[in-house]
Symmetry: D2
Subunit: 361 residues, 4 copies
């Protein structure tokens, strides 16, 4: 289903070329004053057209709140926000009904829905459906910010070009603030030109490229989360894989830990004043599914945009013949910069839910 969460529930709806997309966010605490400008700003970070690396297609992506807010303050009732679909050129997608695009959900969706799903623009599988997630996350992160919890992500890599990584034991608030308000989030801004060059190269070659996003949550208290299947890792992973193009997630040292020795990977505890902290943070702020009070850090793998202009081999489901397909339309050669606010938003919703499950929200 397209709904998620136990105590904070997010129900996403819409298709890329339908009337509208949107989200219902239920279980929010009442009486939280929201900064609507900040929400629009977060949505603008995800919106296309902000950056030369992104598609020139203009979307207004302006969310209209139908319920759950009174004087910009949460009422405790489900908050529904709707974003109208405009400026969509359905004609660009004319041949995808019979010929599934490689790397897209066209074929899987066709089988799953017996051919009845709306395939225009990817329908419900479209990356456009991340806009409501950003809205929901923008709401949740404001509620979390009241408790000193901050969430920020950055472009950890585009292709082989890498940004620096978070210092996992010391992430300043200013960095969190800067990253979470940037439209091309980098710890080391000097990496921007190399990344853009690579993206431009892909665009020139009618190709695309993937990347990774690293996300940090700071200010989390120790003791949040539940064991086994309701652990913080389970909860974050279960929402993050809802972002199209995500193919992997790792927490703390992640896959690198698999090549370490225990003496290297274990994080030593010490007292920093009255607070127990760890000297390193290979555990990514989570042990046994439960927060330790150290920053929660995870990385996600974003595959290259599947829509590319180059001819690709596919099948015609009607004629049962092979066919060459060139995906037309305007597409981002690299969606990683725009994935950053989406990953942050998903993390925000996940963390709000974890805290609500542990009576901490």
């Amino acid at each position: 289903m397209s709904s998620w969460g136990k105590m904070i529930r997010m129900s996403v709806f819409g298709e890329s070329h339908g009337k509208a997309i949107g989200v219902v966010l239920d279980g929010l605490p009442a009486g939280k004053k929201l900064d609507m400008e900040e929400i629009f700003l977060q949505m603008a970070r995800r919106a296309p057209g902000k950056d030369p690396t992104a598609t020139p297609r203009l979307e207004k992506d302006f969310p209209e709140v139908l319920s759950g807010l009174l004087d910009d303050t949460t009422t405790g009732a489900p908050l529904c926000a709707v974003i109208q679909n405009t400026n969509t050129r359905s004609g660009d997608y004319g041949n995808i009904l019979s010929c599934p695009r490689p790397g897209h959900a066209d074929f899987a969706g066709f089988i799953r829905y017996n051919g009845y799903n709306d395939i225009r623009g990817g329908g419900h599988f479209s990356g456009r459906l991340t806009a409501p997630i950003v809205f929901a996350g923008a709401v949740c992160r404001q509620i979390l910010a009241e408790k000193g919890i901050r969430i920020a992500a950055h472009i950890a890599s585009v292709g082989h070009v890498q940004d620096e990584r978070f210092d996992p034991v010391n992430i300043p608030d200013e960095l969190m603030q800067r990253l979470s308000h940037s439209s091309f989030s980098l710890i080391d801004p000097a990496k921007k030109s190399a990344m853009r060059e690579l993206v431009e190269d892909c665009r020139m070659h009618l190709d695309s490229v993937g990347g990774t996003v690293e996300c940090a949550v700071t200010g989390l208290p120790a003791g949040a989360g539940n064991p086994m299947f309701d652990g913080v890792e389970n909860v974050i992973a279960s929402i993050v894989f809802g972002i199209p193009a995500v193919k992997g997630i790792e927490f703390g040292a992640g896959f690198a830990a698999s090549a370490m020795r225990g003496s290297e990977n274990n994080d030593a505890f010490y007292y920093d004043g009255d607070t127990v902290r760890t000297r390193t943070n290979h555990h990514g702020g989570i042990l046994g599914g439960i927060t330790t009070g150290m920053p929660v850090i995870f990385r996600t793998a974003i595959k290259p945009t599947p829509s590319i202009g180059r001819p690709q081999e596919t099948v015609n489901l009607t004629t049962r013949q092979s066919e060459a397909l060139s995906v037309k339309g305007r597409h981002d050669p690299c969606i990683v910069p725009r994935a950053v606010p989406v990953v942050e938003a998903a993390a925000a919703v996940a963390v709000a839910n974890v805290l609500a499950e542990t009576n901490m929200l």
Copy 2:
């Protein structure tokens, strides 16, 4: 919580040194004849003491089925299996109350449960709790086998020593059969000696080492799963992170896809007789959260066993002083071989649930 699943629900209970551990498995179809020997065999793969790399502690781990089976056939009612705890030496763990072990859930659990959780042997966070998961998975995989669905995993790496990878488009049944019945599962058995050497080296140095497990699910029909948050990746990840020591998961090309170009990562469709297949399988059998009919392939990162004999820095929560801790007791220097059947089992429960959600079980 320690319960998981919408249509197939698995509730795990128990603490390492309590009376017993076990599982309730609800939502199973009725009338499925189970091969109990095969179930015990799967549990034996996980049980310690089978292999020189594993702890010499003997556990019987013999599951007693309390309900849900009649003449070894599922009744449709919840199936409960209990495994008694025996041969535990609580004395070995005398000092962990005050001094949380680095890399363990001791500290996080202490905060979460206000010091009331059972810490002996890790309590509910113990790796021993994976035994009920293996039981549940052994039940589910038999039901899946009836539909031609097979699940097998192997030790993809221990430290830097790597096994071969699955050929993602062609995984023979014989390989699946061999791997899923091995106690040290390797595609290339010749890698065993190098891995064992490494593990022995860790043992000699009172250290431990991590690794990765690669898992394949073959025979899955296309069209299983749901979009966004109920996708096959979400569902598998949400259960796999319930296995202690798992710190990462990737599907198909996973993190490697983040460095690829779209033209490289996209998998071309073709007709193999009447069946649509892809020439490569970077998507790991899942697009848009839904199966394509290609093998589902994922890898998990297993961190090194946190229990090591070397002295480590930790804190004394009572005196608030730093302290050196040497974890006593018998511990696997490498749990990766024993993690293999657990990952398979988790995948089996996840896949059974996915199929049940899509009316395919």
Copy 3:
């Protein structure tokens, strides 16, 4: 929360005097052609102003479908429908902030939401929120109708004036058809005048009156539902108590069974051709939570509309003094006729979910 269901999930949002109300319906099978006229007709049955017994307030209640439908056919993606709020006179409700209306959720909601809930017109607790439920039910009942499953309810009583009851073993399709398309559903239409007289008497005395609604589901196959907490009774009750003013539910003989002897209440089985049926239907089509193939029959108690013009005793939450309150505005002296399509709708959603959980949808 305001979302319901495991396999068919309904998320209701909105406040009486907010911008809009609506519903997201997830988990629907794809490819179901919907008769939109029939949906509007069902919504018209619930809409006020259709009948002299109802409030003269005009609502258009016209649902706009934002997603999940293409050419009036379900796509399998979440279906969202929105109903704009118009023609509301907020001024009518000016005094309820400080003085909770007896019989309303004002006080409970004030405590629950720390005074931040939207109280205008009852906010999220308003009976107006049943309009989205009717929409969702109208969708589900069309899908059920394809399988020969029909749902109809009638006004079983208004005050002490009673309609006939369903013959529980023999409910003709024509009766089901007639009741489910009537705006004042009665098995015996001759009861209408007595009921209306009673309602008019209440209106004259600035009072209101309650009643009961009896609902039948015919054509259900035997074997649907799950034991214990997922039984058909549990599932129906859990949704029906979501209808404001419902204070009780009983299945089959219900409370009357509590005064019977076993020999009287037990329903004898017999073969009707190849079909096992029962000679009586005190069990209301459900035994052990599972359908028997006999009609599912339940009755709900609807309390009198709490909004009455008579002065009532309440408290002023600001001054902490007692106060006399006369609820102004236009209110139905009897909502039972309009509750009929809502109960049918809730039953339709519940039954669709039960069937989906049992692989029968």
Copy 4:
């Protein structure tokens, strides 16, 4: 499924004549010291053989706690309790395979599970499965008692013989204490002889009789619960219909409210010192799904025990002929007295879950 609850989850397992029955209770707060004697006492209230009206079959029903408790104190991990099945005479039920017993789940279960369910003694549908519910409720009520919340029920009627009702605005603690520790709970103990006489009359005539149970929850704070489908009524109903033989539930004035006028049914608010209370309690402590701080009161209808010695008409599913069936074995002619602690227990689990959902546990 046989598992229930969002924040407090109860998973019941077992079949009447299998090895054992039991329950896993997850989500409990850690550090709650349990009085095990009090738990056994509650289970003894439900156990048969305590009273002349009950079956002479002796069950030990002694729960063994496998996990979740250390020194009788909750650890926060899932609490599993198992009750061995002993003293069952399977021979008594030899003919029910082919001939479903009227009023039992035999036929519905046979269809649902394709004949694979364990039918001995009713299998998973047996009333014996209420023993684990009583255990779970006994745990929850102790945790609630710490907050001054008390739960008690009484035999409101057996056949036409009625007990007094709770005074809905004034229920003394001593009454709650007495009722919740009685094996034949009556507000007016003088009604016991008439009830027993009626039950004896049924036994003499190889028949049975139903009744009603009225349950009160006192000491609940205002503001607990959620709107629409997570209201207190929904939550209580969804668990109470999991008790075999329950065919109806009503809150506050319930069905009687349907015959009232608004001016009569509405409950006037007033200040009792600093506390807002209502002068009457027709709303049963719940408005809009949320508690008002007044006692929560509900009544359930219990149908007559379907197992009766008299010959009844049924079918032989093998021969497809009608057959006369006399249910052999020892059966309670009236299970209402034993249903009292079960209803209390279900209410306790429901209330604990409601409070946990509202951050009040």
